[in-house]
């Protein structure tokens, strides 16, 4: 394992500076600048097509930025993806595991890919989420798939957890289970959580920072309580006031953090 540089241990867990993302000549994110403090639960909000998943792909080193700078735990995810993924856990919007593998096979497979792997911890989470360990991934329900992906994402005790709309399509019980796991298990360990979501009510109770993407740009970002106090609005009202406007009218506001 390589020695960690000072940049890798200090500063924000996630940082973008003037980041633009595009598919060919079609821009999906422009001039995005944000910083996610270590240990925070940071919610990224935005309507469908706002560019949340595209941003996640850049953060995960799966596609390069068109312009600007990205740092994950102090490192460039495009060039340092392999070492970063040992410190980052990911729950994708669409669960992407091989459909023929069971939960226990997936855990064993991941154990071969990570230098450290808490198989007992994964098994305990799967038991708590009531995920059948011997059923093929492709035959699990959407909620079970999400719970399994979360369990696998936590198997190597990541410093940073990236969740891409993890509760999309889940029922209330499954949704609560996911967020309870995030609150109960991770807050105590100081894991940074960066979550993109539509689930405003659920995230309002656990996020301490929030950012809203609208019209390809960052429309609002900051500490949630400060934003609410400053505007006298709930998160839902704030989202409606920002994301409900036309792109050109969306104001960028950064609350003091």
């Amino acid at each position: 394992m390589s020695a960690e540089t000072p940049a890798a241990t200090a500063g924000p867990a996630l940082e973008t500076d003037g980041l633009s993302v595009s598919y060919g000549h079609t821009p999906v994110i422009e001039e995005l600048t944000l910083a996610v403090p270590r240990g925070s639960v940071y919610a990224l909000l935005g309507r469908n097509g706002a560019g949340k998943s595209s941003l996640l792909r850049v953060l995960l080193g799966q596609r390069p930025a068109a312009k600007g700078r990205v740092r994950l735990l102090g490192e460039d995810p495009w060039t340092r993806r392999t070492s970063l993924m040992a410190r980052v856990g990911v729950v994708p919007e669409e669960p992407d595991a091989p459909p023929e593998m069971t939960a226990s096979q997936l855990s064993s497979f991941c154990a071969r890919l990570h230098a450290r792997w808490d198989a007992a911890g994964v098994a305990e989470r799967l038991r708590r989420f009531e995920v059948p360990v011997d059923r093929a991934f492709g035959r699990l329900s959407k909620g079970q798939k999400g719970a399994l992906m979360l369990s696998l994402a936590l198997g190597h005790s990541p410093e940073l957890l990236l969740l891409d709309d993890p509760t999309l399509g889940l029922d209330v019980v499954a949704r609560d289970a996911v967020f309870q796991e995030v609150i109960g298990d991770l807050a105590d360990r100081g894991t940074t959580v960066f979550v993109s979501t539509h689930d405003l009510r659920a995230i309002e109770g656990i996020a301490d920072h929030v950012a809203i993407l609208h019209g390809r740009r960052l429309a609002l970002a900051g500490r949630l309580e400060a934003l609410k106090a400053e505007r006298g609005l709930s998160l839902e009202q704030m989202f409606a006031s920002v994301a409900g406007t036309r792109a050109a009218d969306a104001p960028f506001t950064e609350a003091r953090s």
Binding site: Q62, T82, S83, A86, D96, A97, P98, R112, H114
Partner: protein, 259 residues
């Protein structure tokens, strides 16, 4: 290396059904005498079916190993874990080539057990096997395996990406045909190059195999989980090798006499 093997093992376990299928195909020559065919034809039928099954395994695996996994999001499962791209690329290719070889060999086992070549008398079987197992023969089969996997991967990527690169590939393909006819064919015509031995056959198809391998390296290293981006990288890698080969051939081509 352990991650490459982990990826390869997973790919093999996903396609384990090819192994019993190969054994079943291998049993086919054993029933031929029941239909009045002479016993000595069995090795010929057996070798042909083993080679065809190996090629089919290559096409099936090549079509699914990268393009399908990228298109349905499953490649992201590996890319969001600490697996370097060479391990992903290598694991996929190792598994594909093992599947081709294992399918071919397993398809040969049943009839070889039932009718050992020594009992056949060597009219057909011995010569076939000697040709296949000498140096150029084995290398030729290896190249064919790479071509089967690589061409299937290229076609599947082209089909799934539906990007502007599809048009570019077609134009480049036509250009490559024209350049081959214009610059490479005269090399044979005027005797500059003669394919006489097995090694020269291997050398003749090597650029295509190298191009497909180089393209798929770019596909994984640069394209990663994005199938359109992967198509662009694959095309650039492949056509770069083909282009260099054709330019080299053009450099050695004799002047075409006026007609």
């Amino acid at each position: 290396m352990s991650k490459l093997l982990a990826v390869a093992a997973r790919e093999l376990s996903e396609r384990w059904l090819l192994f019993p299928a190969a054994l079943a195909v291998g049993c086919f020559p054993l029933i031929l005498p029941a239909f009045g065919l002479e016993r000595d034809i069995m090795p010929v039928i057996g070798v042909v079916s083993a080679v065809l099954l190996g090629a089919a395994a290559g096409l099936i695996t090549g079509a699914s190993m990268l393009a399908r996994d990228a298109a349905n999001g499953r490649l992201a499962f590996l890319f969001s874990r600490p697996v370097p791209w060479p391990a992903i690329w290598g694991g996929k290719w190792v598994a594909a080539l093992v599947l081709v070889a294992a399918s071919g060999l397993l398809a040969a086992v049943p009839w070889m057990v039932g009718y050992p070549l020594s009992t056949v008398g060597g009219r057909h079987g011995d010569s076939w096997f000697r040709a296949m197992l000498d140096g150029p023969g084995a290398l030729f089969l290896f190249m064919v395996a790479i071509l089967a996997v690589g061409l299937a991967n290229f076609s599947a990527t082209l089909f799934r990406s539906r990007s502007p690169w599809v048009a570019a590939d077609l134009v480049l393909l036509l250009g490559a045909f024209w350049a081959t006819r214009r610059y490479v064919a005269p090399l044979w015509l005027f005797g500059v190059v003669r394919v006489r031995s097995g090694w020269e056959v291997v050398l003749a198809i090597a650029p295509l195999a190298i191009g497909l391998l180089a393209g798929s390296v770019a596909q994984v290293a640069v394209g990663r989980t994005d199938v359109r981006r992967a198509h662009g990288a694959l095309s650039l890698g492949f056509w770069a090798v083909v282009g260099v080969t054709l330019v080299s051939a053009a450099g050695s081509a004799p002047p075409v006499p006026p007609t």
